[in-house]
């Protein structure tokens, strides 16, 4: 439970370096914290601010980890103990509870206020909306309050997110809720996939973390390709939908030179040519990059045969250098429950393989790189296709069957 001091003068200690962050036009977190401390008299927050001032003076951090959790779960609370509790006893404990928000970070004020009410009762009053992975982070609670706080939140329908060697909280773009580009119901997929993995979110049973992000289209507004082990990106198979009248209106408005220099020359595969003063799209050359659609959203839209591409292995640079996800499932339609079950089934097989194969602290992308993409795909029962590579190998160092004998279709 938060401790409070009521004497207005004592609510804040001097934090001269931090105070410099109250200047400037961007919202100041320091001003926010000070306002709150002044209002609440929350001593944990005061202690944290004092320790932060000390960090600014000494240019060093003073938190260490530990083990704090809720009944039955092995993850979801990031525990923080001050390394200098004698100096800042009020900051002795400052644990964070990671709460999973709804897909797309949508809230009703009713539900959000409910969280705030509980947090006001148990916590520091600080929160982070949102963490980079996608959690609503309730920052600053002591060990004794964690369980009660969680129970109250849980009663209201909230649950903890992942941490450590678990499936992590997912993230998704605004998707079909407000975006005309969305090629599948990314929010529903997010909801279903992450619900399925709830057990793996709460209990560390994996070699390392596993993250999911969902983007409605290749614009990838959820940054899935680099920030998620499993990136689910909407796409389409048939032709770009073109509204001829709107194309003409665009050209009338902007001119042919604008069209050439901003649309035609920017297509990555030269799939668009100038024909009779307008554009012709060779859809079989189109790589679904979105650019022409982005520039002309009234005139062009994704095709009608829609689904997702699954890219696996995105992550930060630890150990092997930054990794972008690689295509492992080029296309999966995503129209109903069956399709989502299918996606879950595929990911399940991938996770099973990884759980068996990975070294400690090895993300699936690193593991695939070490073991080889084909070995991974075969073990996960996924057909290898040419869409999974940018190009075939450029070295002859492989071991085919001795009796490999390709069947060449005679053409022409």
């Amino acid at each position: 439970m938060p401790k409070q001091v009521d004497d207005a003068d004592k609510k804040l200690n001097p934090t001269p370096l931090l105070d410099e962050l109250e200047d400037g036009k961007w919202p100041s977190f320091i001003s926010g914290y000070k306002e709150w401390i002044k209002q609440s008299g929350n001593t944990m927050t005061r202690g944290v601010l004092d320790q932060l001032q000390y960090s600014y003076e000494t240019k060093m951090g003073y938190w260490k980890g530990g083990v704090v959790g809720v009944h039955g779960y092995g993850a979801g609370v990031i525990s923080r103990y001050s390394m200098i509790p004698d100096k800042y006893p009020e900051a002795k404990e400052f644990h964070t509870m990671r709460v999973q928000p709804a897909p797309g970070l949508h809230y009703s004020t009713k539900k959000l206020n409910e969280i705030l009410d509980v947090w006001e009762k148990y916590g520091s009053g600080l929160l982070s909306m949102h963490g980079q992975t996608g959690n609503l982070q309730l920052q600053g609670i002591d060990q004794d309050s964690v369980q009660e706080c969680f129970d109250e939140l849980n009663k209201l329908g909230w649950d903890l997110g992942g941490a450590g060697a678990t499936v992590r909280t997912g993230a998704s773009c605004v998707g079909p809720a407000r975006c005309e580009m969305a090629c599948y119901d990314s929010l529903n997929a997010h909801y279903q996939v992450l619900s399925y993995f709830t057990d793996l979110i709460h209990r560390p049973q994996l070699p390392y973390k596993a993250k999911f992000k969902f983007s409605g289209c290749p614009n990838d507004c959820s940054n899935s390709i680099q920030r998620a082990d499993y990136a689910v990106i909407g796409t389409w198979k048939d032709d770009i939908q073109m509204d001829e009248a709107e194309v003409a209106a665009f050209i009338a408005d902007k001119g042919v030179e604008y069209l050439v220099n901003n649309v035609i020359t920017r297509c990555p595969t030269d799939a668009i040519t100038l024909e009779n003063g307008s554009i012709a799209i060779e859809n079989s050359d189109c790589v679904r990059c979105m650019h022409c659609i982005n520039v002309m959203p009234k005139a062009l839209s994704p095709g009608k045969e829609r689904g997702i591409t699954l890219l696996v292995g995105g992550k930060g640079h630890l150990k092997v250098g930054n990794m972008l996800g690689s295509v492992m499932i080029p296309f999966l339609k995503m129209d109903g429950q069956e399709d989502i079950d299918n996606l879950i089934d595929i990911i399940d097989r991938m996770i099973d393989w990884w759980a068996e194969e990975a070294l400690d602290h090895e993300r699936i992308g690193e593991c695939i790189e070490r073991v080889g993409m084909v070995a991974f795909l075969e073990a996960a029962g996924i057909e290898t296709t040419v869409d999974m590579i940018a190009h075939p190998r450029d070295n002859p160092y492989f071991k085919a069957d001795h009796d490999h004998n390709p069947q060449i279709k005679s053409i022409a």
Partner: protein, 357 residues
């Protein structure tokens, strides 16, 4: 703690439908196109004709109960009791009612929330925990973020960049901020010092040894007890061992510096997504305002703003003008450390006669 009687509902994440604005729910998946009436405002039009306006505003991300309550109040007043956050910590209010836009913007601005971040603007910087909460930070993330965004305020509220610009900052080399058009990341410049006093008590030695990407950590004996040593010639100062064992003290008030990275791109628009690349390092970790870091960002953004063509992301602008001109036009010094010597170094060599003079 009282005896617990409540039985946890392992409910997982809440469903989104109840969270959505009613117009959004009604036109779910039925959107036709969008326009941007002004910076910070989007207008989405549904196939059925419904219109939904969105107002986007910057926040501190590290917020408090009163801040969020105030935002909820605005949502109640102007956005039918719904609001959302973007992946970049901006808050969004939706309304079918055009008349709500102006007063909502005024109130947001009055509360100190800048309205912007849409279209070709610099949106809010993605940042991390820092000294405020993390156990391995070499700097404070929120402070850097605030300092940077103060300097780029105008670029947030206007749409005057060639294309959208995403920034990130991270408080250790691990880079929880993820990649971005421009990322500011702590860079260590020396091997960890080993704190032998605590190592023996807290270190899971085999897993610390295993964490090192270049096998620079070796078992040894210190004062007759098993301990660890770092082969300094091998160590690449990555800090991975510190995450495994707090005795591997990688952070240093002077020698943990900042590096700046550019050209990270996650979207598939035009060019394939690309990794961000190192363009500056050795910048002082200088709280509370980090002026050196801010200067570098301003240089890069002003050069990009001047030189980029419409729709060119920062990395694509560089792909066109070349890295040499990037360094010239941003005033940043290129140096030999930027030439890769890690695992896939060869793939970064210029294996062509393509050169700009």
């Amino acid at each position: 703690m009282q005896k617990r009687t409540y039985q946890t509902q392992e409910s997982g994440l809440p469903h989104h439908m109840e969270m959505l604005h009613p117009v959004s729910r009604k036109n779910y998946g039925q959107w036709k196109y969008h326009e941007r009436p002004r910076p910070g405002v989007l207008k989405h039009v549904a196939h059925g004709g419904d219109i939904l306006y969105t107002v986007r505003a910057g926040t501190h991300r590290q917020v408090t109960i009163p801040i969020v309550r105030r935002l909820c109040k605005l949502a109640d007043k102007y956005a039918d009791g719904h609001l959302r956050w973007t992946v970049r910590n901006n808050v969004e209010f939706m309304t079918p009612n055009e008349a709500n836009i102006a007063p909502l913007i005024s109130e947001l601005e009055a509360l100190g929330h800048p309205v912007g971040g849409t279209g070709p603007s610099v949106s809010a910087i993605a940042h991390t925990q820092g000294w405020l909460h993390c156990d391995i930070p070499a700097t404070d993330a929120s402070g850097v973020a605030k300092s940077v965004m103060d300097a780029l305020y105008d670029d947030f509220v206007k749409e005057e960049m060639p294309n959208r610009v995403r920034l990130a900052t991270s408080c250790c080399e691990i880079n929880c901020g993820g990649q971005a058009d421009i990322a500011i990341v702590v860079q260590h410049t020396r091997p960890p010092r080993i704190n032998h006093n605590i190592l023996k008590d807290i270190c899971e030695m085999p897993s610390t040894v295993a964490r090192c990407p270049v096998a620079a950590i070796r078992p040894t004996t210190v004062n007759g007890k098993p301990s660890l040593m770092v082969v300094e010639e091998k160590c690449i100062y990555c800090g991975a061992c510190f995450g495994a064992c707090p005795a591997m003290e990688i952070n240093h008030p002077e020698h943990s510096k900042f590096a700046v990275w550019v050209g990270g791109k996650n979207s598939n628009a035009r060019s394939k997504p690309s990794n961000m690349r190192l363009v500056c390092h050795g910048l002082a970790n200088n709280p509370p305002r980090w002026p050196e870091v801010t200067q570098v960002l301003k240089n890069i953004l002003s050069a990009y703003k001047n030189g980029g063509k419409d729709w060119e992301r920062l990395g694509e602008w560089i792909d066109r003008i070349g890295w040499k001109r990037f360094f010239e036009e941003t005033g940043l010094p290129f140096d030999k450390y930027m030439i890769d010597n890690y695992r896939h170094a060869r793939t970064s060599f210029n294996q062509s006669a393509h050169i700009r003079f």
